[in-house]
C-alpha cells in the first residue's frame, strides 16, 4: 500500500514550521506518523504536502518548570512511559503511555500527534482530561493555551485551526496524597480502547475526596469528563460504597458509539464498571 504522492517539507524550528503551515493550506503535519501514515496508505487521507516536525529539537522532551510539567508534543509514548519525571510527578501519564498499542508503536507515536489526531478510541485523551492539562497551540505570530476539556470537538476534530501547531502539553505536578489509575478494555486486535478510564484523586483530611477527576475515552465520539460522578464524590468520604454509587453516573447524558466490536449499551456498561475500578485503584494509591 502506497500513499498518494505528496511534497515533503522538514522544518527545523517551530517558527519555520508555523511559517510553512501558514503558506500551505493543504498541508498536514507529520509527527511520529502512526495515525497519519496508516490513513494515507489506506487513502483515507491524501494530503498534498506533509510538514514533518519530527526533527524540531524544541518539540521533544519533558521538563519541570514552576510546578508544571512541560511535555514537548513530539515526545514519544515510550519516552513518556519511561520518564522518571512523569513517574514521580504525574504517574497517570506514564501509566497511560504504557497502555498504548505495542512497543514498536510506542517507540514512534507521539503524544502531540495522538491528541491532534483525536481518535475517539485513543488512550491519551482520557488521561489528559483527568490531569487537567493545557495544550499550547502556536500559529505564525500568536499562541494560545487551551484547557484539555475545551480541546476535543468531535470525532477526529479538535479546536485547532489548520495553521496551528500543537507544541506543548502543560500538566500540573501532583499535590501530595494524590493517586491515579488508567484502566482500559482494549479491542483485542488493534489495542485501541473500547473503553478507557483515567481517574485521579487527591485526598484531604480524614480521607475525604478533595479533588476527583475522571476522563473517559473510547465510548463516545469524543473523550469526556464524567462530571456527574466527580460532583457526587467531591468532598465525600472515599468509601467503596460512595464510589460504586457515583460510578453509576459515569455515562449520564452520553451518546455511545457502536460497531462490530461493541454495542453502545456494552460500551456504556464498561464505562461505568471501569470508572468504579479506576477510582478505587486511584484511592488505594493515594493512601499509599
Amino acid at each position: 500500500m502506497f500513499p498518494r504522492p505528496f511534497d515533503y517539507l522538514r522544518p527545523t524550528s517551530v517558527a519555520e514550521a508555523t511559517r510553512l503551515l501558514a503558506s500551505h493550506a493543504e498541508a498536514k503535519v507529520l509527527a511520529g506518523g502512526h495515525s497519519l501514515l496508516p490513513m494515507m496508505k489506506l487513502r483515507l487521507a491524501s494530503p498534498r504536502v506533509l510538514i514533518d516536525i519530527g526533527r524540531i529539537p524544541e518539540l521533544t522532551g519533558i521538563r519541570e518548570e514552576n510546578g508544571m510539567l512541560i511535555i514537548g508534543a513530539c515526545t514519544t509514548h515510550y519516552a513518556a512511559e519511561s520518564s522518571p519525571l512523569l513517574r514521580r510527578h504525574c504517574p497517570l501519564l506514564a501509566e497511560t503511555a504504557a497502555a498504548i498499542g505495542d512497543v514498536q508503536v510506542r517507540n514512534r507515536g507521539t503524544i502531540g500527534g495522538s491528541l491532534a489526531h483525536a481518535d475517539p478510541a485513543a488512550d491519551w485523551p482520557a488521561a489528559i482530561l483527568a490531569v487537567e492539562a493545557q495544550l499550547k497551540l502556536v500559529r505564525r505570530g500568536a499562541e494560545r493555551l487551551v484547557p484539555a476539556r475545551d480541546f476535543f470537538v468531535d470525532l477526529l476534530t479538535t479546536v485547532m485551526q489548520s495553521d496551528e501547531l500543537l507544541t506543548e502539553i502543560h500538566v500540573p505536578v501532583n499535590p501530595p496524597r494524590t493517586g491515579s489509575a488508567y484502566l482500559k478494555v482494549p479491542q483485542p486486535a488493534s489495542g485501541f480502547a473500547l473503553t478507557g478510564v483515567a481517574a485521579q484523586v487527591t485526598l484531604g483530611p480524614n480521607n475525604t475526596l478533595e479533588r476527583v477527576a475522571v476522563g473517559i475515552t473510547g465510548v463516545s465520539s469524543k473523550p469526556y469528563r464524567a462530571t456527574a460522578t466527580e460532583q457526587a464524590l467531591q468532598g465525600q468520604a472515599a468509601t467503596a460504597e460512595a464510589v460504586a454509587q457515583a460510578a453509576t453516573q459515569a455515562t449520564a447524558g452520553v451518546e455511545a458509539l457502536a460497531d462490530i466490536h461493541a454495542s453502545a449499551e456494552y460500551r456504556l456498561h464498561l464505562a461505568r464498571v471501569y470508572t468504579k475500578r479506576a477510582l478505587l485503584r486511584a484511592i488505594e494509591r493515594a493512601r499509599g
Binding site: 489506506l42 512497543v103 508503536v105 517507540n107
Partner: protein, 162 residues
C-alpha cells in the same frame, strides 16, 4: 529527495520519492529482503527493524524519515558467520515454523534484551505484543528469547572485560 541512511553499518545515499516506505527502501532499493511485508497496517510486526536502536514497524515509517538514521535489519545481526544469540535461540528452541514473522520477532526480541537483559515470561510476551505469529502459539518463541537472554548474560561479563 536525497537521503543518507546507514544500514547494518554501511552508508547509502539515494534519491527517493517522499512516499516510499522504509520497508520498500530496504527490500526493493537495497535488496535486503530479510525484512518482510506482512499486514501493511502496522499491526503484525513482520517488518520490524531497529531505527537508531528502537524497534519500529518499517511499513509505517517513510524512507525520508529515516534520513540520517542508523538502521539494523535481520541481515545485520550475525557477525563473522556466527548467529546472534537471539537467532541461535530461535534455532535451538524451535521458535519458528513457517518463518514469515521471524525476522520481526527477532528484531523486537533483540530490542527487549537491550532494554531488559533478564525479562520474565510475562515481560517477554508484553514486549512481543506487536508481533503476530500464526504458527507457533508463541510458547517456543518465549523459550527462544529466554535462551538468548541467558546466553547474552553469560557472555556479557567476558565481553565487558575485553
Amino acid at each position: 529527495m536525497h537521503i543518507t541512511v546507514t544500514v547494518n553499518g554501511q552508508t547509502y545515499t539515494h534519491d527517493v520519492e517522499p512516499r516510499l516506505l522504509l520497508v520498500h527502501y530496504l527490500r526493493d532499493v537495497l535488496r535486503l529482503t530479510g525484512t518482510h511485508v506482512g499486514c501493511e497496517t502496522s499491526l503484525c510486526g513482520a517488518c520490524t527493524v531497529l531505527m537508531n536502536g528502537a524497534a519500529v514497524k518499517s511499513c509505517t515509517v517513510l524512507a525520508v524519515q529515516a534520513d540520517g538514521a542508523e538502521i539494523t535489519t535481520i541481515e545485520g545481526l550475525a557477525k563473522d558467520g556466527q548467529l546472534h544469540p537471539v537467532q541461535e535461540g530461535f534455532w535451538e528452541e524451535h521458535g519458528l515454523q513457517c518463518g514469515f514473522c521471524t525476522p520481526g520477532m527477532i528484531m523486537a526480541s533483540y530490542q527487549l534484551l537491550q532494554r531488559n537483559p533478564n525479562p520474565s515470561d510475562a515481560e517477554i510476551r508484553h514486549a512481543l505484543e506487536g508481533n503476530l505469529c500464526r504458527c507457533t502459539g508463541y510458547q517456543h518463541i518465549v523459550n527462544a528469547v529466554r535462551y538468548a537472554a541467558e546466553k547474552m548474560r553469560q557472555s556479557a561479563p567476558a565481553a565487558s572485560g575485553t
